[in-house]
């Protein structure tokens, strides 16, 4: 399929389930070839948004176009343009990887030699050539996710939806999947809409990030801009002598606002980006010896904290 000239446009998208507002009027613009990370805790509205954009769930209100097609009025055209790997690898444990690909490609009208070659190519791309004829129930979580990705790519979609693609995967499988998704966007111009609850994933992979909480987008931008916008570095100092923690508190208090620290340490979020040398000089001047000094750059979790008053990691608000 030729790459779409259009990405995803969303205006005031709403989805209610009886009295519960899962998505409360979001606006998005995602350019072709962009990797957009949709970050938020469980129950924030990420999957509901994906279901609406992939035509599986009609919106209650608002408008969305995917690859230039309206998700309500042009469902079949949207589906022909997109690939989706939804939450939980939706696979049949009693079929082999190759049988899955055969079924999926045939349902998309790909048959004969073209299908055979496509399946071989996709199995190779996701590293499942050797395991292609094994039943899926023998696959590891990472292998299932890779097969899921291959199935989403079977009809060469211009837009790919990945709903928490690396949840439950080991670090090695996660990195392999990130590499493949990055390659798809970089080399093939595929637009990727990726939901995740992993900060690192959004940070590493996404060109832009939207943070959703309680159905609202609370922040949006490149990871670097979001962090620069609200996050200042945090300095954490462990005094060499534990009874000097009080002196340390007074000293560091001059450079920033107290923030969470490990037991036996004291930390402040610095007032300015260039304050670390001044902190070190002050420690030296006041003869306060430090066992450890750590400088933490702001993370997307800091952004989430600033926007919602809660930390993202471990946040499960249903």
């Amino acid at each position: 399929m030729a790459r779409s000239e259009q990405g995803i446009e969303v205006e005031g998208l709403v989805r209610r389930f009886k009295d519960v507002v899962a998505v409360a009027g979001i606006d998005l613009t995602i350019s072709p070839g962009e990797i957009y990370g949709f970050l938020g805790p469980n129950g924030a509205g990420k999957s509901t948004t994906v279901h609406m954009l992939t035509t599986l769930l009609p919106p209650t209100a608002g408008r969305a176009t995917v690859a230039g097609f309206d998700v309500v009025k042009q469902g079949p055209k949207v589906r022909a343009s997109i690939g989706a790997a939804l939450q939980e690898a939706a696979l049949d444990p009693f079929l082999t990887g190759r049988e899955h690909l055969r079924l999926q490609s045939s349902l998309h009208g790909i048959t004969g030699q073209a299908r055979k070659e496509l399946i071989a190519r996709l199995l190779d791309r996701v590293g499942l050539t050797q395991a292609g004829d094994r039943k899926v129930r023998t696959y590891s979580g990472g292998m299932k996710r890779r097969l899921d990705l291959a199935l989403a790519l079977i009809h060469d979609p211009s837009i790919l939806f990945l709903d928490e693609p690396t949840t439950g995967l080991d670090p090695q499988s996660r990195t392999a999947l990130w590499d493949e998704v990055g390659r798809l966007a970089r080399d093939e111009g595929v637009t990727v809409f990726l939901t995740t609850q992993y900060l690192e994933e959004a940070d590493v992979l996404a060109d832009r990030v939207g943070i959703i909480d309680h159905g609202h987008i609370v922040a949006e931008g490149t990871p670097a801009r979001l962090k620069a916008e609200i996050g200042r570095p945090t300095v954490e100092v462990v005094p060499e002598l534990p009874d000097e923690l009080g002196r340390l508190r007074t000293l560091l208090g001059r450079f920033g606002v107290e923030t969470a620290a490990r037991p036996g340490a004291f930390a402040v979020q610095l007032n300015g980006h260039g304050d670390l040398p001044a902190v070190i000089r002050s420690l030296d001047t006041e003869n306060l010896r430090a066992a450890e000094i750590n400088l933490h750059q702001p993370t997307l979790d800091d952004v989430f904290l600033a926007k919602t008053g809660r930390t993202l990691e471990g946040s499960e608000d249903g």
Binding site: L56, A80, L86, A90, L95, E99, L107
Partner: protein, 251 residues
């Protein structure tokens, strides 16, 4: 449709725990009942001296009932795992999806019918309608399996869970028992039982099959048997199609 049906058949036959009990349990019941209830053949008006020949058609019904459970449970699992969503994202039509999903149950129903008939013939049952009648028995048995299988799909789409499907199974089983499975309706003395058996479509499906074994070519019994088999398919398909639209809300 054929692609989904093929997958349904493949997955069914790759799970021995799914297809062995439906294949063997009706045979065991047939063996037990044909011996234990043999005395019923001495009742005045009982249509045959062989209770095995009388009971054989019920095995097809019972096999079909298992098919219902298999089709329903498989679809419920597809809903639960998100496989139905995967199919919904392809150009496949809803009707093709439903017809394909019962492929495994129909395939199993066909094999069951051949096995039951083969065992019956090996045990000495004589098919009065001959070879064409035996073929028609297989056709009607597959139609009945299709009807029950589709009913299983409706239950799965309605409940969305394997547990939901399993919980309905005893009700369907009960419905097959309050029929003319063990006695001809005219010999059932308990009025309420006879009345329920008379309005129970299962009785007519059994009697359609039974007529081919015991009577030969009984047009009325066959017409009623086929009518209720087709009616079951039509009603179940209508219910399942409607429920699929509720479950699969793609635009």
């Amino acid at each position: 449709m054929w692609l989904i049906a093929r997958r349904s058949v493949v997955r069914t036959f790759r799970q021995p725990g799914v297809w062995i009990p439906p294949l063997t349990f009706p045979l065991m019941l047939m063996a037990v009942n044909s011996n234990g209830l043999r005395a019923a053949t001495h009742l005045p008006g009982f249509p045959t001296r062989s209770f095995l020949a009388f009971f054989l058609p019920f095995s097809f019904l019972q096999g079909a009932l298992f098919a219902s459970g298999i089709a329903g449970t498989d679809l419920a699992r597809d809903i639960d795992t998100g496989f139905l969503n995967r199919l919904a994202l392809t150009p496949v039509r809803g009707a093709a999806l439903l017809l394909g999903q019962i492929g495994g149950a129909v395939g199993l129903g066909a094999i069951q019918a051949v096995v039951y008939l083969g065992v019956g013939l090996a045990a000495g049952v004589h098919i009065d309608s001959g070879v064409p009648g035996a073929f028609l028995i297989l056709v009607l048995a597959v139609l009945i399996a299709t009807g029950w299988g589709t009913l299983g799909l409706w239950i799965a789409l309605r409940t969305g869970s394997g547990e939901g499907v399993q919980s309905q199974f005893p009700l369907l089983f009960f419905a097959t028992f309050i029929s003319s499975m063990n006695l001809p309706r005219n010999l059932i003395e308990v009025k309420w039982f006879r009345d329920i058996a008379t309005i129970n479509p299962v009785s007519y499906m059994i009697e359609g099959l039974r007529s081919l074994v015991l009577v030969g070519w009984d047009a009325q019994a066959l017409a009623l048997g086929f009518f209720f088999a087709f009616a079951l398919i039509a009603c179940s398909m209508a219910l399942a199609t409607r429920q699929l639209k509720v479950r699969m809300t793609r635009t």
